[in-house]
């Protein structure tokens, strides 16, 4: 099962992705688990991606499916993308769809 650490506050869900790779070997389970977390929370989501060192198009598909499962009004912010992950979002133009921010906002 993919390792996702959830910190829930009054106003938001912070989900730390503790997986080095989001690839075809894990994409379906990752999607199911993350979707379950964000739908149960019903709060704005911040996804800490700093540990993810590699993602392929099946991992991207999982992220898109989770975004689509959330009501449009609920923000899903991706923070701390590593270069390999940022590349996939950029080359597929999905960086124009997702709210992507530097990791600095995660300091607390």
């Amino acid at each position: 099962m993919p390792t996702l650490i959830v910190n829930e506050t009054e106003t938001q869900l912070i989900v730390v992705v503790e997986e080095a790779r989001i690839d075809a070997a894990i994409a379906t389970r990752f999607k199911d688990r993350l979707r379950e977390i964000v739908l149960r929370g019903r709060k704005p989501v911040r996804l800490d991606m700093r540990r993810v060192d590699f993602m392929d198009s099946s991992g991207l598909g999982a992220m898109i499916a989770v975004r689509k499962a959330l009501p449009e009004a609920l923000p899903l912010v991706l923070e701390g993308l590593t270069p390999n992950v940022e590349r996939v979002f950029r080359l597929t133009r999905m960086d124009s769809v997702f709210d992507i921010r530097p990791a600095t906002t995660l300091q607390e």
């Binding site: 690839d23 075809a24 070997a25 392929d56 198009s57 598909g61 270069p83 080359l91 124009s96 769809v97």
Partner: protein, 161 residues
């Protein structure tokens, strides 16, 4: 003994030639084996290839090999005859040359035709269809041929994007 020691043996050693890592593997066409292969590939080239080129190489190979794995499982085979594929990566002057062969079904011709990204309809985002766009965008000299029952795909990932 390393290969350069062997070449330099004898009373009149030849000047040391630069040796470069290469990678060759036969793997099962399934996602866990693809993952393991890419992790080992990264270790093999870590000292020679920049993180940026390595990242592009890894992404392209993930897309290609996951496609092979997906289609190997789609065409039901007897359990004892699990599909395999061969991967070979060597360093050339301008980039990493890769060849992938497998005995799955023929590659549909439209995979290799120039592609555009799936339409980004904000109300109904595409969840797939990115793989061949990424492969085409990150490779040079992409070519495919069918040899008997085998697929052969070859391309180069440049050192500098």
């Amino acid at each position: 003994m390393s290969s350069s020691e062997r070449q330099n043996a004898g009373p009149k050693p030849r000047p040391a030639i630069r040796t470069q890592p290469m990678f060759h593997r036969v793997l099962q066409a399934e996602p866990q084996d693809v993952r393991q292969t890419l992790e080992d590939l990264r270790i093999r080239f870590a000292k020679e290839v920049s993180a940026d080129a390595m990242g592009r190489l890894e992404l392209v190979l993930a897309e290609v090999m996951n496609n092979v794995a997906e289609h190997a499982s789609a065409t039901a085979m007897p359990a004892a005859d699990a599909r395999s594929m061969h991967l070979c990566v060597v360093m050339h002057d301008n980039g990493l040359s890769c060849a992938i062969t497998d005995d799955g079904g023929k590659l549909p011709a439209d995979c290799l035709l120039p592609r555009t990204l799936p339409a980004l309809d904000p109300l109904d985002l595409p969840e797939g269809g990115f793989g061949w766009c990424l492969i085409q965008g990150l490779t040079q000299s992409l070519c495919y041929y069918r040899e008997g029952q085998r697929n052969c795909l070859a391309f180069t990932v440049p050192y500098h994007a």
